[in-house]
């Protein structure tokens, strides 16, 4: 089953507004990462937040992590048409055994549409 689940599945807002996406996960994690995917393209890494961090910023992006609730949120401020994309959260499991695949587990994503 999916480790991370994004909410909402789809979000449509006006340009200039803020967009908030949420991610919930099930087990203890080492870190949580957010990725963006433009239609038909590969994924682009946005931000990584470690389990001992609560908030992280990168430009117009703000990510929070609440390990007690096993949830994270991605806030995009002052949205632009170019922000239209799917956004995925991915978790790295805490119980890393040394194998290469105890790595990212992706959710199904939030499809964000910015209306001009």
């Amino acid at each position: 089953s999916q480790q991370g689940e994004e909410d909402p599945q789809a979000l449509s807002i006006q340009e200039g507004e803020n967009a908030t996406m949420n991610c919930s996960y099930k087990t203890s994690i080492n870190n949580l990462q957010w990725y963006r995917q433009n239609s038909g393209r590969g994924l682009v890494h946005l931000i990584l937040i470690r389990s001992n961090e609560r908030e992280k910023h990168s430009g117009r992006l703000r990510v929070t992590l609440d390990t007690s609730k096993k949830s994270s949120s991605l806030l995009i401020t002052a949205s632009r048409a170019a922000d239209t994309a799917s956004y995925f959260c991915a978790t790295v499991l805490f119980m890393y055994s040394g194998g290469g695949a105890d790595g990212l587990t992706f959710g199904k994503g939030t499809h964000l549409i910015i209306q001009p």
Binding site: N31, G40, G42, G103
Partner: protein, 112 residues
């Protein structure tokens, strides 16, 4: 700087035909390499990963296979494609399994 290439970009194949998708990474040594599949409107499913030449681990049973003949080359293959193999195939690399993954542009595979 590091770059990752995938080819072909798109592929249309008949059921029962063979498959070979290639991924190469430049600008880094001994990367961890991954193959993912993304069905329409879905998240990513990890198919294979490799921590070194000739070392392949599979995450799901299927009619696909992977090989790593060189340090920075990762190949996804099938002897006989199924309709269910259609999807968007993404290759990714990372220098550490706990860190950021860097994705290639993907291959859109349609099996008819």
């Amino acid at each position: 700087s590091q770059t990752i290439h995938q080819w072909p970009a798109t592929l249309v194949q008949p059921v029962g035909s063979p498959l070979s998708l290639e991924c190469t990474v430049e600008g880094t040594s001994n990367p961890n390499l991954y193959w993912y599949r993304q069905a329409a409107g879905r998240g990513l499913q990890l198919l294979f990963y490799s921590v070194g030449i000739g070392q392949i681990s599979s995450e799901v049973p299927q009619n696909l296979s992977a090989s790593r003949p060189q340090d920075r080359q990762f190949i996804l293959s099938s002897k006989k494609l199924l309709l269910s193999d259609s999807g968007f195939y993404l290759c990714a690399w990372t220098s550490t399994p706990l860190g950021t993954q860097y994705f290639g542009p993907g291959t859109r595979l349609t099996v008819l």
